[in-house]
Structures are given as structure tokens and as C-alpha cells.
Symmetry: C2
Subunit: 412 residues, 2 copies
């Protein structure tokens, strides 16, 4: 179903020293389905994360943020992550917070650590209380099957309406040290159609100081998970978590080291791959669209324009229809909120086809050239603003009948 996105192969997902993975079937929403994921981290691991900016951010997001902050303030390190699907535990008030804490306490009891050393995550329907006792009951099973070589199961355990699991893995050499990194993601999925919650977890076996991790997770997120959109709906539960298990030989204490740059670029690369898998498996997606906005004054204005194009229902339906109705892209650029945009300096390309030149139709543009590109499953929209050196890329998908069907189905 996903656009040019082959199924991950379990044997190609490399175990990462210092992180054990377990899973369970708690029956949170449906029986006989992996819906609890447990990740146990080695002593010495460092963890950093970025979270949704939604003001209705879910209870587990609030707890995870607080527990990570405690570490930065000298608290004990994070030693476990626990994820459930089937319920987002969002807009659930004090009871929801207590449920998230209870989950952490139970993980802590089973692993012999403190509850503050556990980060909880949830995804699924919102405005409903978490059935925390089902999770508590299932956790011993997850503990009992903890092992390093469990990444494919982990990718499956966080799926909701994703049509396939999403994972990536690589081994690289940095400063003479071998580093193994493996990650999973989910998105565009709902157990009962609800919201396109995005979750991403990426672990590698280097030893990285906490301040470096905090910098690294932002850098990678800004160039990967923060560059994708399916429908513009920011979930209450979005989270991207980076784990340095410390179990390998590479050690990084400062963002000034060349090893940091190499690690940063590897992490960004694999994060981008994980993020793009979410778009390729977007609800109802039939096309994968890359929007590159170039020659802007700053990255922020390029991103604004990229998102205006990516969120336009008119642009998205035109891609679905393979209809080179490209004035819609210009209109989206025009309302992106760049008040001093000089449209007479703007060029628009579809792959290699120059559609609009100096803000008007390119005299040499032929509809059949636009049509040829629009029929492809992967399309590059390139906007040259002619006002600076900044650029930004956004990845998105089209808007199809299946998107409406998936999200208009009753949550039964």
C-alpha cells in the first residue's frame, strides 16, 4: 500500500548493544494484537526527546518531559521506555496523569529502577481514560521476552492504522569506532481513526553526554520528523526519542568534535528515512511529494511556504488526480504569509519542468510536460524565491478518497 516503501526485513534490523526490547498483547482496544512495547536501556545510556507542541499534550508526554527534565537537573538516568497503542491518554485530566504514572511505577517495580527513570508514551483515541490495569497486567509478559534482537516486533507493536511497520538500521564507522543504529517509527495511524500520531525511536550504541544529546535530537528532528505533514493535524502525542546506549566504544562529550558531526549526520539521515516512511504510508497516500523551497531569506519563510503548499487541499487533490492544475501551487505560495514576497522573482519547477517563470506562466511550458510529471508516484516541487540563500524541504502525500474513507469511518 505504501508508496515505494518496501517492508522492513527483520533480519536486517541490527540489534543495538545496550537496549533490550519486549512486547505484549494487553488487549487495550482489540485482542490478539501487540499493543505494549517495553525498551530497557543499559546503565550509562543517555536519552533526549522532542515532543508535540499541542497544548492538549497527552498525559504520558507530560510525564516523559518531566522525567527527562529531572535527568538534566541531576536526577537518575532514564532506564526504560514504555509505549502503548489503542489509547492516547490525552484530554484525560488528573486521572490520565495518574494512569501514566502508574504505568511507570509498574515498569520500575519489574525492572528494579525508579518510576522517574521510565518514559511513558501512548497513541490511539483521545478523550478516553487509559485502561491502565490491562497494561499493568501485560507488563510481566513484555519483561519476560526482553531481548536485543526484537526491533521488528517493536516496529509492529507501535502500529495503529499504519499499513506496515516502519524501521531502519545501519552500521557506520565514526572516528574509527563502529556504531550501530536502529530506529522505528509510526504515523498516520489510528486504532480507531483519531489522529495522525507520530512516534519515532532511534537508538545507537555510542556513549554521548546529555547536553550533546539534547542538541542532537533537535537538530535531527528539525530536518526529519519536523519536515513531514499528511494533513496538518498536530497530534497530542507526537514524540521522537533518541537513545545513546553507551554500550559501544565511541564516546562524545562535545558538539565541537568531528565525531559529533559524523554522528549527527548519520542520525539525521536515518531519522529522515524513518520520517519519510510515515509519509509513504500516509492515510490514503498514492504519491510521495517532496517540496523544496529555495532562495529564501531564511529557513522559516521557506518552511512556511513549503507547509502552505503541503497543506492545501486543492494542491493535494490535484496530485491525487495527476492533474497539472499548477496555479493552485502558486496560490498556496501567495497566501503563505510572506507579506513582502515579490512574485515576479519566483520560479516554479515540477521535477525538471519550468512551469512558472518570474511569477507568470513560462511561455515554453506545455501542459503535456506537467502531465508527464504529475503521473509519477514521486514528485519534486521546487520553488525558487529569488530573495536569499536559505532553503527548506517538506515531505507530504496527496489527498485521496481513501483519506476521507479512513477518517470518516465510525470508530467501532
Amino acid at each position: 500500500m505504501a508508496v515505494n516503501s518496501p517492508l522492513p526485513v527483520a533480519s536486517e534490523l541490527k540489534p543495538v548493544n545496550g537496549i533490550d526490547i519486549g512486547f505484549a498483547e494487553a488487549g487495550i482496544k482489540k485482542p490478539n494484537r501487540k499493543d505494549v512495547l517495553l525498551m530497557k536501556l543499559a546503565e550509562g545510556a543517555t536519552v533526549a526527546g522532542v515532543f508535540t507542541k499541542n497544548r492538549f499534550c497527552a498525559a504520558p508526554v507530560q510525564v516523559s518531559k518531566a522525567n527527562l527534565e529531572a535527568v538534566s537537573n541531576g536526577g537518575k538516568p532514564i532506564r526504560a521506555l514504555v509505549v502503548n497503542t489503542g489509547n492516547a491518554n490525552a484530554a484525560t485530566g488528573e486521572q490520565g496523569l495518574q494512569s501514566a504514572r502508574t504505568t511507570c511505577e509498574e515498569v520500575a517495580r519489574l525492572l528494579g529502577i525508579d518510576a522517574q527513570q521510565v518514559l511513558p508514551f501512548s497513541t490511539g483515541v483521545i478523550l478516553e481514560q487509559l485502561p491502565v490495569q490491562k497494561i499493568v497486567a501485560a507488563l510481566p509478559a513484555a519483561v519476560s521476552n526482553l531481548k536485543q534482537d526484537n526491533w521488528f516486533n517493536a516496529a509492529e507493536a507501535i502500529m495503529t492504522t499504519d499499513t506496515q511497520p516502519k524501521a531502519a538500521s545501519l552500521t557506520t564507522t565514526i572516528g574509527g569506532h563502529t556504531v550501530t543504529m536502529t530506529g522505528i517509527s509510526k504515523g498516520a495511524g489510528m486504532i480507531k481513526p483519531n489522529m495522525a500520531t507520530m512516534l519515532g525511536y532511534l537508538a545507537f550504541d555510542a556513549k554521548v553526554a546529555q547536553p550533546v544529546m539534547n542538541e542532537l535530537v533537535r537538530y535531527a528532528a528539525d530536518r526529519s520528523f519536523n519536515c513531514i505533514t499528511i494533513d496538518g493535524d498536530t497530534s497530542t502525542n507526537d514524540s521522537f526519542i533518541l537513545v545513546a546506549t553507551g554500550a559501544g566504544t565511541l564516546s562524545i562529550d562535545s558538539t565541537d568534535s568531528p565525531d559529533y558531526i559524523a554522528l549527527r549526520d548519520a542520525v539525521t539521515g536515518i531519522s529522515t528515512h524513518l520520517a519519510q516512511q510515515i509519509i509513504r504510508d500516509g492515510e490514503g497516500a498514492t504519491k510521495f511529494i517532496t517540496i523544496s523551497v529555495e532562495q529564501g531569506r531564511d529557513m522559516e519563510e521557506c518552511r512556511k511556504i513549503g507547509y502552505a503548499i503541503a497543506h492545501s487541499p486543492l494542491v493535494k487533490t490535484a496530485f491525487f488526480a495527476s492533474d497539472p492544475n499548477l496555479g493552485r501551487i502558486l496560490a498556496a505560495i501567495g497566501y503563505a504569509g510572506i507579506d513582502d514576497l515579490d512574485t515576479t522573482k519566483l520560479d516554479l519547477y515540477l521535477d525538471d519542468v519550468l512551469v512558472a517563470k518570474a511569477g507568470g506562466r513560462n511561455p515554453d511550458y506545455k501542459e503535456e510536460d506537467g502531465q508527464r510529471v504529475m503521473k509519477k508516484a514521486e514528485i519534486l516541487v521546487r520553488v525558487e524565491l529569488g530573495r536569499g540563500d536559505a532553503n527548506s524541504t517538506v515531505w507530504t502525500c496527496d489527498l485521496s478518497h481513501d483519506y476521507v474513507s479512513i477518517n470518516a469511518d465510525y470508530r467501532s
Copy 2:
């Protein structure tokens, strides 16, 4: 097709003294279709307008703005409006501007006025040159059928993919003077699916000074046409024009007069009605949704939240499905960009049903109550922010399969 929006009755659309209306079939995109509208204004008429903020604003919008500005700077008054459908004349560069000017020159020649006294408007496909000679050839026919009692034809002449004409009319008494006002609008329509261009024209027979008109058009637009959204796509051609023909006995020179307040409220009322007709006839619309955001710090933050809800594809598909998946509304509120929003002070109502209380699910809320409201064709979403006295209303429709079908059809 439109949601609770009966067809206007031609005989109920009152002629307005001081404005004559003509139309023609220019065959711009399709033959045998009214696609040119001409409105001739009496001497002494004043005109004001608000226009799209899209940076790719169409050539006729640029000319109309310049011609209106010339009046405010002491130029001759506006004496005619000319509208074509079938082509938006947007992203058409210098040639497009020349085409808009040629249209004005021809109207001016036929009516014996200056080209600067004509406001041109276009709606239709963008990125294609206006077939201006077809318009020029059709204008004499429009001149020859100019008459006051032609408002229904006017409403038909500006339709694109609108399923029905949109018009409203009323007679009221202000300060002892009878005032007649009649208006038309179009929207959510495309000759070949392109953009939801909105056009609105409202005329009344009072005499109103230009500075008062400039104030009045903004006031009314901010409470009517600027409160609607179908898909969040701001057109390159949106325009709302107010005409005071000066042919009646009421005369207003200052915004301080009680007569101004009465006129303002009447104009705002009928503008709202015209704007709502656009939503009721929105592409694929099956429901009419009123989103009232109350108790905000200022109108701007209320509007931000209203639009976040109104633009969310997830909220819109839930309305289409009559699915009380109301966490989606909270999520949209959460990402609306109010950084200091305290969700624990927020209540959410669906009609009279209290769904969320203090940011969490209302313990007394029952799904069947939400279901009952969601099945209706007209739904009120009411958000109480608990942080101030400001409020704002946005009107929108649902997102249905028909929306995708209409906009994914190839422009043949």
C-alpha cells in the same frame, strides 16, 4: 444540494435605485452561459472594497485596488463594475494586467466614462491568459440589457461550480429613510476546478461619504466574508465590494451618526447571509458548522482557534461521518498556536451538550448525546476558553468524498 439554503426568488430581489445590471455570454470557457456581468452606478455613488491578501493576487484585483485608491486620492468616482467568470487572470504577468485594463477601457468607451472609473473582476482557472477579445466582443450585449431589476441574472452570471445562485435583499428604515439593499455572492466554485474564489457585491441606495464607506466595508467583511472557510485555500481573486448608489434619501457623512450604526448593522447582517450561502453551497458540503470561540483574551486568538478547528481535515471528516470523535476538536484547539492556553479552563460544547469540561472529558457526557448532535445538518461547536471576554465566530462545512471528487476531476 446546498445545506438548508433555498434558491433565491428573482421577484424577491429588490432593485436598488442607482445601479443598473447587464450581462452577456462571452463564451470564455464554455458557450451558452452567462459569464460577463456589468454593473453601472449612478453619479454620486461611492464604492469601497476589501480584497484577497494573496501575494499572487490577480491582475483585475491589482487594477481594482489602484482605481479605488485613486478615488480616495481625489480622482473621479467609480461608475462601473465588470466581472467575468471562466478565467481568473491570475499569475498572468504584464499581459494579464494589460487585459484587465483593456476590459476597463472598453467598458469606459461604451458608457462614456474614464477607464479609471471601472473596477474589473475575474474568477476561474489561473495561470492562463484572459481571452480579453471575447469579453470586449460581448460587452455591447451587456450594455444593451442594463436595467435595475436584474439581480437574479447577476447572481447567475458570477457562478462557476456553485450549484445555485446566491443573493439576498432587504428593505429597512434608518433615521426615517427607507433603504433598499441587495447583494450577490459566489464561492466554492470553479469553472474547471481550480480555487474557491469568493466574490461578493452588495449595493444600497443611501448616500455615504467615501471615508465612511471604507470603514463600513472593513467592518462588515470582518464579521461576514472573513469568517468563512471551506478548505483554507485563499484565492488570488477574492473581492467584496460595497456600493452606496446615493440614489435614496438617507445620507451619512460620519461614522459617529446613529444612522451609520443602523446601516452598518444592516449591511453586516446581509453580508453574513451572503457569506453563509457560500458555505452552505461549499464543495461537497453536507453540513453547515458554526464555530463560536468565546471567553478569549482578544478576537484574534478566538479566530485562530476557530480556523484551526474549521481547517482540520480530521474534524471535517468526522462531521461528514456524523462521528462524535470530539477529541479531534480539542487537538485542533491545542495546536492553534495559543502558547499560553491553559487547557484546564476550557469547556467544549456541541450544541447544548457539554463534551469536555476543564480540559477533560465531562464525566456526564454520553456518546449518544454527541451522536445525536453530529447527525444534524447544522451544528454549533462552542468553545469557552475561560480567559477573557472576546469572542469570534467562524462558519465552515464538512469534508466529504464529493470535495475530493470535485477537485480531483481533470480540468477538461
